[in-house]
Symmetry: C2
Subunit: 314 residues, 2 copies
Amino acid sequence: MGGTNTDIGLVSENGNIIQRRTIPTNAYTELEPYVRDMMREVEDMVKEQTTIDGIAVQLDGIGIGAPNGNYYTGCVDNAPNLTIKGVLDFGKEIHRYRDLPVVLSNDANAAAYGEYIYGGAQGLKHFIMFTLGTGVGSGIVIDGKLVHGSTGGAGELGHNILIPHGRKCSCGREGCLETYTSARGIVQTYLELRRENPDQERMLKEVPDAEISSKLIGEAAHQGDPVALRTWEIVGDQLGLAMANSVTFSAPEAIFLMGGPTLVGEPLLRPLRAAFEKYLLNIYQGSCQIRMSELKSNEVAILGAAALIKMPRE
Amino acid sequence: MGGTNTDIGLVSENGNIIQRRTIPTNAYTELEPYVRDMMREVEDMVKEQTTIDGIAVQLDGIGIGAPNGNYYTGCVDNAPNLTIKGVLDFGKEIHRYRDLPVVLSNDANAAAYGEYIYGGAQGLKHFIMFTLGTGVGSGIVIDGKLVHGSTGGAGELGHNILIPHGRKCSCGREGCLETYTSARGIVQTYLELRRENPDQERMLKEVPDAEISSKLIGEAAHQGDPVALRTWEIVGDQLGLAMANSVTFSAPEAIFLMGGPTLVGEPLLRPLRAAFEKYLLNIYQGSCQIRMSELKSNEVAILGAAALIKMPRE
C-alpha cells in the first residue's frame, strides 16, 4: 500500500507472483470502499487462477505492507501520506469478506521480511535492511525474527540522527539519516555542490534545479561527471557511517540495501563500502557484508507483504 | 571479572547475594591458576553456606560477566584491559572442577540481564541498558531476550559514532559516544570548559587538571558551580541524543542507566530527560521511559553474572 497506488498480488508458496493487480490508493478517502475494492481484486485473482502447478489455490492469509503499519494492532496509524485518514483497522474490514489471517506491518519491515523469506537473506539469522526512496526506511531481523519493539514501530533508522544539528527533516528534527540519503537528500547534496563548484559541472549543467533527480545524478556519475561522482561519494560516506553504527546494535551478518537511488550501483557502493570499513568498530571487522537486495524492485512490495504470512505467530 | 578485581558471589534463587569473595584479577597472567583460585573460593562459599532458608545449597550453574566475553563461544576474546592474554575458554577450565552449566557474556550485557531478572526491568520485554564508567557499555533486551547478534558482540552502543569526526576514541575511530559520556569524556568536557571560562569556575578552581574526576564534577554541580553544571548539561544532551537514536532501533519501553557518573543524579538527569524528549522521533513520544538501575552498584557485577544462568538455552 503506497500513497499513490496499491499493488495486490497472488503469491505462491515458493514466492512466485502468479497474478497481480493495482488500485489507486489516492482515489479513496475511506477505508470501507478501499478494502471492498481491494477484496474484489483478490477474489478476481483467485477466480482467474484456480490452480497453481495443478494444485487448487487456497489462500493462507493476507499480508499488508503499509506506511505506519503497526504489526501489533493490525492498523495503519495516521499515515501522513495517505488520503485515507485516521487509524485504519484492516483486519476488521477484511474479515467482513474472508475469515483469514491478516498480518500487517510497515513497508520497510515487510521488505526486510520479504528478503528473508524469498530473497538474499534466506538462511541468515541477523540482518538489517535499508530502503532508500522518497524517505529512508529500515527493517531489522534478529535471531530470525523481525523486530517490532514495544510499540510495533521499531526499525526507523532513517530517523536516526546522523549529524547533530544537521539538515532540517520533515519529522521536525534535524540531521536525520533520511535528510542525507533519501532521493530528496541526494538531490539536495547535488544542488549544494553545483552551487559551490559551478565550473566543475558537466552533464547536468543545463538542467534546472527543480528537475534534478537522483536518477539523473546516477546517469551523470556513470558518464564521469565530477559533481555527480562527488555527490555519491558523500552519500556513500554518510550511509556507510549509519550502517556501521547500526552494527553496534545487533551485530548482523549482513546489511541489505534496496530502492531507486541504490540502482546507481558502483558510484554509490564503492564509497559506501569504503566508509563502512572505515567507521566499523574493530571487533566487527569482517563479520558483516553489505549486499544489494535480491528481490526485483517491482516485486518487493508484494513479496514483502506476502512474506508476513510466514511469520511465526505467538 | 574486572581488570583489577574479580567479584565472586553465591546468589540465591531470588537474587540475594549470600556469600561473596574477591580475588585480584591482575595478579594472574594465565587462565589455569586464575580459574583454580576462583573455583577454590566457590567451593569455600558452598562449604560455609550449606543451606539457604533451610534448603541445601545446590549450584545451578556459574555465570560470568567479563570484558569481551562472548556468549556463543563461552570465551573471553583478547580483552585489552586484562593481564591474562589471549582467548580464554572458561567453560573448559571450570569443567575440570565442576560439571555445571557455565554461561558467559560481556559485562554490560550481564548487567542488563541482571536488571531484567533481579532489578527494575522485571516484567519488561524491550529495554536497553547504558552503563557509564571508564568506558560506556550497553546491553539490549528485545522480546525478553538478550541480543547477542551474529558474533556474540552485539550491544556496543558506547562505540556508536555520535559526532562524526569528533573526539578521538581509544578504539581508533572518532566521535564515539564513549568519548563524551564515559568518566574520562566527562572530565575532558569539564577541562575544555574551564579553559574557555576561567573566570566562571568556583569549586574546583584549585584542583589541577590531572585530579579532576567525574565524582568531583558531580559534587561541584550540587554546590552550584556553573562550569560543573554546564558540563552535565552537555553530557546529558549527548547521552539523550544517543538514547533517542537507540529508540529508532528497537522501540524499547525503557532505557536504564547505571554506573559511577550517573550517581550524580539530577544535574545529569534533568538535561538528559530534556534532550531525550527533544531528540525523540514523534512516533515514540511517551512510549519510552528513562530510568535508573534498581540494582545496588556493588551488587550489579555479581547479580548480572548470576542472572545469565536464568537465560533460556536453545
